[in-house]
């Protein structure tokens, strides 16, 4: 399996005339977890959503700049956003399984992308659930509704669903903020496992979570990246006062 990273170059996002992200350039390495932190409204989620062109769906939202995967700038009109979102998966704050069975939630994406063979789909479902650490809990009830799962299980199902289409990059927008501590811990373990195969970018408001799960951290403030460094450096010896004020809880 080839390991792919992602590079944003001078990425700006405007809602109408209002700039939400201002010329942000960041490199996300393969097999690494990068955390995006910052106060509400700093542009980190907007930035994250731009990475797989989800902001295309918002009226008045204009994204300029470049997003490079391999040798392709995906922030260009010629990009097929459906196949792009296959390569760059997204996990949201609240688990959003389809109103279908556990099996169908996972099989939906691969089937949409052309895999019709039942045996191949079975294999993908099993492997995806295993990778998302959900197989043991669900293997005997794959045909049950996904909505019957707990919140934490639903979130792992959503992660399994994004894995099923074989992405290179997984974006996560506060994936554990709606979960209890036990489920949060499982998601964090899962992130640590998944980074062996994927480039992961995670937005989180939970400083300790960022410190626990990520290799690098970017601190956003008013649409700009104030500081981007190894997570250990950010949390022990940040170079900017704004970063220090934010992570020590003295911001405001």
């Amino acid at each position: 399996m080839e390991h792919i990273g992602l590079t944003a170059k001078d990425l700006s996002v405007h809602y109408g005339d209002r700039p939400a992200v201002k010329k942000v350039s960041l490199d996300f390495a393969a097999k690494q977890v990068t955390a995006l932190i910052g106060p509400s409204g700093c542009g980190k989620s907007t930035f994250l959503r731009s990475l797989n062109r989800m902001n295309d769906l918002i009226p008045n939202c204009k994204v300029t700049g470049e997003i490079w995967i391999r040798d392709k700038n995906i922030n260009s009109p010629s990009t097929d956003v459906v196949s792009l979102r296959q390569k760059i998966g997204m996990v949201w704050q609240r688990p959003n399984p389809f109103h279908k069975s556990i099996y169908e939630n996972i099989a939906f994406g691969p089937r949409y992308h052309g895999i019709k063979n039942k045996k191949a789909l079975d294999e993908i479902v099993e492997q995806s659930l295993k990778k998302a650490a959900l197989w043991e809990e669900t293997k005997d009830r794959l045909n049950n509704s996904a909505l019957a799962l707990s919140g934490g299980q639903q979130q792992r199902l959503c992660i399994a669903r994004s894995i099923a289409v074989k992405p290179d990059i997984i974006l996560m927008d506060e994936p554990a903020s709606a979960l209890d501590p036990v489920s949060t811990s499982k998601i964090e373990e899962l992130i640590a496992d998944l980074k062996r195969d994927y480039c992961i970018v995670i937005v989180t408001h939970n400083m300790q979570q960022a410190a626990r799960v990520s290799d690098k951290t970017a601190f956003f403030l008013t649409g700009e990246v104030m500081e981007y460094d190894l997570t250990q450096n950010i949390f022990t010896n940040p170079q900017r006062q704004e970063t220090s004020d934010y992570i020590t809880g003295r911001f405001g």
Binding site: M207, Q208, A211, F235, T236, N237, P238, T243, S244, D245, I247, T248, G249, R250, F251, G252
Partner: protein
């Protein structure tokens, strides 16, 4: 800037306890040297006895720091402040032990007439007392320049120590009957020299607090 009452209060309490420890250590050093000059066994016994108070303060600093880490999740400078409080309190505790060692020498000498007038040992002790004051002041004021300055004083202490050892060695060669006491006095020089090294460690901690870098000032 937003205040974090619990965390800030805990950090201030740790700082106060460190200052208290520092004052006690400096007092123990000055008094033990005075006791050595005067052959004052009673004062020395009191110094030995009071060391347990220093240990208790060190434990208290550990407890507060552990509680803050567990409940407040400090990071960056807040975290470094707690880490160095552990380190500084441990250094001060050792400095207290070494002052006690000086007092124990006084007890062992038990009022013997000294083989030579004490000149350089008290000078060393005075210099080290200043190092203790300055290193702690640099901590309180977050003053990196003062931290470096106090560490620099260690060179003078080392030079004095070498001189004392040379003199005591000459005395021992000249008159073997002095060996017992000369050995004890050279130990005193060694104890004070070690106290200065710990004061230098405190200065290093202050540089780490302010810059996140760990210099080696004990060279």
């Amino acid at each position: 800037m937003v205040k974090r009452m619990e965390l800030d209060h805990g950090l201030q309490e740790m700082t106060q306890l460190l200052i208290d420890m520092g004052n006690r250590v400096e007092k123990a050093l000055v008094e033990s040297m005075e006791a050595l000059k005067n052959g004052d066994v009673e004062t020395s016994k009191r110094i030995v006895k009071s060391d347990s108070e220093l240990n208790q303060i060190e434990e208290k600093i550990s407890e507060i720091g552990a509680k803050l880490i567990a409940t407040q999740q400090p990071v960056a400078k807040d975290l470094r402040r707690i880490l160095i409080a552990f380190k500084i309190s441990s250094d001060l505790e050792r400095m207290g032990d070494l002052s006690v060692d000086v007092a124990k020498v006084v007890i062992r000498l038990d009022g013997q007439t000294l083989i030579k007038p004490l000149i350089d040992l008290p000078r060393m002790a005075e210099l080290v007392a200043i190092m203790i004051q300055e290193s702690l002041q640099s901590y309180v004021d977050e003053n990196v320049d003062l931290a470096y300055k106090s560490a620099k004083d260690d060179d003078q202490v080392d030079a004095l120590y070498s001189q004392i050892i040379r003199e005591l060695f000459a005395l021992m060669v000249e008159n073997p009957k002095t060996v017992g006491q000369a050995m004890l006095l050279s130990f005193v020089g060694r104890y004070i020299e070690r106290i200065a090294d710990h004061a230098t460690n405190i200065a290093e901690s202050v540089v780490y607090l302010m810059t996140g870098k760990r210099p080696d000032l004990n060279q």
